[in-house]
């Protein structure tokens, strides 16, 4: 009743069998030696691939036909077909290289897993039914199916629990009885019928189970890789290369404070109207009105402020002076809230330096609930309210229509960028929005304010530069994946 891992002893030509299959769980690391040049090319290309997966996931409804079409195209452009056997080697090796670069922090792992899972899903769904079955069998997927009698008894409930099941087909469909812990994605979104701890999964949704399993394995594997990382870090040829790879996904690391102290607290009110993205403007306004923000809001806004250059001392003063105008007195503030702010600046607790949230993070994780003002207005506001707000901010009716269209199509970041364009009077902004702090920097640039902090968007180039110094030697990849 569980996925069982196939343990294979690897022979002399170990991977050729693996490359006969169109898709794999990446259970075994590559065993061959590869040149550093190839190592690098593979890494950079897979990174481009994952970036593409991310972008498409934000701009299109995932797994819609449009999304699929785009994906097909882009993969071809990136020379990442995986069907022909020869390219499977590249797929395999490049996946493992990025594991090294993306296992280091929680944020990196989350990003990497998300993109790899999306990619896997796209590929799995694309397989012909026969190959899907083969894949399941190869990976020993064994759950009990419902008997006809059980199906009959539950047919009403089964029918009401899945979008893909219609009355006629309940009898013809297989339903798997899966412990709910193995079907979390289906449980979370209420796409299965649950009874006494079991999820009743229709056969076509079994892909979700496969993904769940893939995700779990990958996250375990990354944790393991992270543990063997010291060895990699001491390798002076690999270390800088991997570091650059991992910094590439955000474009810029906004946790590194630049311009510290350049902005005074008095400027925040006017900046919030001019240069803050709507999410931050909303938080700022709520803070001024209620003299309080709940945890999610404090994190999202506090880290943003840190990112634009507010120092720890300023931050403490800023939050304290606002909070004590509300229900919190200075004493309570110092006891209950100051810690959290120092924490954001890496001065307490784990001493981790927290990174300002990216749009993806704001849009996807921790949605606002009662009493919260955080989140992304393009994603989390009622369209009606958003419209009113835009009107209030004097956005022209035609632009509002455009923005609302984008919102409807779930292109939240594009909607935000459109808003940027109309409020800054630029026709075609030259950046692609992925971070509230980026919005701020671009806005300051457009308004002729702050100087443009140098950004290194062009990943491949950067990687090339640093690796010029690297000797051209062969790397034994397998050695990097030893279970520490």
């Amino acid at each position: 009743m569980q996925f069982q891992r196939r343990h294979r002893k690897l022979g002399t030509n170990p991977q050729s069998e693996l490359y006969l299959q169109p898709l794999q769980f990446y259970g075994e690391p590559p065993l061959e030696n590869i040149s550093l040049a190839e190592f690098e090319t593979f890494a950079v290309e897979r990174l481009k691939l994952l970036k593409t997966v991310e972008n498409l996931g934000v701009s299109y409804v995932k797994h819609s036909s449009q999304y699929k079409l785009k994906m097909d195209n882009e993969l071809r452009l990136l020379h990442f077909p995986y069907r022909p056997d020869t390219k499977r080697r590249k797929d395999h090796i490049s996946h493992f290289i990025l594991r090294l670069a993306y296992c280091q922090t929680e944020d990196l792992r989350r990003w990497f897993i998300q993109q790899e899972v999306d990619l896997f899903r796209y590929r799995f769904t694309d397989l012909p039914p026969q190959q899907k079955l083969e894949f399941l069998h190869k990976n020993n997927l064994k759950y009990n199916t419902l008997s006809d009698k059980e199906k009959n008894e539950l047919s009403d409930k089964l029918l009401m629990s899945s979008y893909s099941v219609s009355g006629v087909t309940v009898e013809k469909l297989e339903f798997y009885k899966v412990p709910f812990q193995d079907a979390l994605d289906l449980v979370r979104s209420r796409k299965v019928y649950l009874k006494a701890g079991f999820a009743f999964v229709p056969q076509q949704d079994i892909v979700t189970i496969v993904l769940n399993d893939f995700r779990t394995r990958l996250s375990k594997a990354l944790a393991l890789t992270a543990r063997s990382l010291p060895a990699v870090h001491s390798d002076e040829r690999l270390h800088p290369l991997l570091n650059h790879l991992s910094h590439a996904y955000l474009g810029q690391d906004y946790s590194i404070q630049k311009n510290v102290g350049k902005i005074s607290l008095e400027q925040i009110d006017s900046l919030s109207g001019k240069s803050f993205p709507l999410c931050m403007r909303q938080l700022h306004q709520a803070l001024r009105e209620n003299h309080h923000l709940r945890h999610g809001g404090r994190m999202q806004y506090g880290l943003f402020l840190k990112g634009i250059g507010i120092s720890l001392e300023q931050a403490l003063q800023f939050w304290r002076s606002e909070f004590i105008r509300g229900k919190v007195d200075a004493d309570k503030f110092d006891k209950a809230y100051a810690y959290g702010i120092r924490h954001m600046y890496g001065k307490e607790g784990k001493r981790a330096d927290y990174t300002p949230y990216s749009c993806m993070k704001v849009i996807l994780s921790n949605p606002p609930s009662q009493g919260d003002h955080h989140g992304c207005p393009f994603r989390h506001s009622d369209p009606e309210l958003l419209k009113q707000k835009l009107q209030f901010y004097k956005v022209s009716p035609s632009s509002i229509t455009q923005i609302m269209e984008l919102v409807k199509g779930m292109h939240f970041q594009l909607a935000c960028q459109k808003y940027f364009e109309v409020t800054h009077n630029v026709e075609d902004s030259s950046f692609s929005l992925s971070h509230p702090n980026q919005y701020f920097i671009e806005s300051q640039k457009a308004l002729g304010g702050g100087k443009d902090p140098k950004r290194d968007v062009d990943v491949p180039q950067k990687v090339q530069e640093t690796s010029q110094h690297l000797a051209e030697t062969a790397e034994d990849l397998e050695a990097l994946f030893k279970d520490g």
Partner: protein, 426 residues
């Protein structure tokens, strides 16, 4: 004859706490709970407790090797509030000596926190920290809905519902499968159970799409039992004009206009509600979207609002049962499921009340029991304490807690038996 207990004075708390922890706190039941039958090694020992002391001083990562040690420490520190955290890989009080990264939260009960402040946009009677018997119905509804789902859908059996002491309830799911649930598992369960979504920027917080999942239908059945009396009558959500408008804001725009015309001049809330329901029924025949608005209204006004973040984390702390609420003085007592509907938070004893009750002169019966005690001196201290809480209004809550633990013990017995069977095989 009812005494007045609303005269709890927070200033007296420092004087009352020592008495409470010395003579009333049910340590043996408490230990019996968190030790879980000793099925897993060091389960109690590796559990985090955190204490809030006078002046909001907060001490985390307390842990104890025995019931006795816990007792001694609590009697020494006299915490204003007790929180329970996770079972860790090492003793929490030694977490500093463990290599960082290897000190990890491994298990905890699956917990839920429902707080009345999260319902402020749908309560007309009170706001913020205030509650009254009218809005308490929301908690009753929450318990019925979640309890059913956690048992029938997820197959859990050992659910401890606890009054938070002020304005909400907590649920501790104590089954082994729940305690072992991963963070992803916890958030999946919590999201399955969440229907009301969105913050201050969202008006319509419940959106239903076809088909309506059996879980939602079952929850609606519960809400329907209460809706008319609670929402329409007590909360009067269709009374004043602003209220009616707020309800109608949840109806699709085109229907809203039609309804508004029809509703002109009608004043009786029950009638208005009937009109809304009928309108929805008529529209359900058509293929249009938004045909479930009457259900959405009911859910938005009554469906439990979970603080998902509390449930998600394995290491999240939650106020312990039998802890005192420093503001109200009320004890966090377990709620007997058989009596949820009559549970009245204002009857829950305060610490001042039970301490007073201790000072009452003993009855004849109690005296005779006492003299028996003196004869067998052995467990005198233990038994005296037992009888101490029995003389107060805490008794019935401890008794219920006992019966809850008995239920769990039966499952531990099975577990231990299985384990010893396993050993026999080797």
């Amino acid at each position: 004859m009812r005494m007045s207990y609303s005269d709890y004075d927070p200033a007296c708390l420092p004087d009352l706490l020592p008495l409470y922890y010395r003579r009333l706190f049910p340590f043996s039941q408490y230990y019996r709970w968190l030790n879980y039958g000793g099925v897993q090694k060091n389960y109690f020992q590796n559990r985090e407790f955190s204490f809030t002391l006078k002046d909001d001083i907060y001490v985390r990562y307390q842990s104890f090797s025995t019931q006795n040690e816990l007792e001694k420490e609590m009697q020494k520190m006299n915490p204003y509030k007790i929180d329970i955290g996770a079972v860790y890989s090492h003793r929490p009080n030694q977490h500093n000596t463990v290599k960082s990264g290897s000190f990890q939260a491994l298990e905890k009960e699956l917990v839920f926190d429902i707080d009345m402040t999260d319902y402020d946009d749908v309560r007309t009677c009170c706001s913020a920290a205030d509650i009254c018997s009218k809005c308490w119905t929301l908690m009753t509804i929450a318990i019925h809905i979640l309890d059913r789902a956690l048992r029938d859908d997820f197959g859990f059996q050992h659910l401890l519902w606890v009054y938070s002491g002020r304005r909400g309830v907590h649920c501790w799911v104590c089954d082994e499968a729940a305690r072992k649930l991963s963070a992803a598992g916890r958030s999946a369960v919590a999201e399955y159970l969440s229907l009301v979504k969105g913050g201050e920027e969202t008006v319509k917080k419940v959106v239903l799409t076809d088909p309506i999942h059996p879980f939602i239908s079952a929850s609606l059945e519960v809400v329907e039992k209460y809706f008319l009396e609670y929402a329409v009558q007590d909360q009067d959500i269709l009374g004043r004009k602003e209220c009616v408008d707020k309800v109608l804001a949840l109806v699709p725009e085109d229907v809203r206009n039609e309804l508004q015309t029809k509703m002109k001049g009608v004043k009786q809330p029950e009638k208005l509600w009937k009109m809304i329901k009928n309108e929805a029924k008529n529209k359900q025949g058509t293929v249009k979207k938004g045909q479930h608005f009457e259900k959405e209204i009911m859910l938005q006004y009554c469906y439990p609002r979970l603080d998902v973040n509390v449930s998600k984390g394995v290491n999240h702390l939650l106020k312990s049962p039998f802890s005192v609420h420093p503001k109200t003085g009320r004890i966090s007592v377990p709620i007997d499921l058989k009596e949820v509907d009559s549970f009245d938070p204002f009857v829950v004893p305060t610490i001042s009340r039970i301490c007073e009750e201790l000072d009452r002169p003993r009855t004849e019966e109690e005296k005779s029991e006492e003299s028996q005690d003196k004869e067998n001196e052995k467990d005198a201290v233990e038994t005296r304490k037992m009888r101490d809480y029995k003389r107060t209004s805490l008794a019935k809550y401890v008794k219920y807690f006992d019966s809850f633990l008995d239920g769990m013990t039966r499952s531990w017995k099975g577990e231990l038996l299985r384990k010893s069977d396993d050993q026999m095989e080797f």
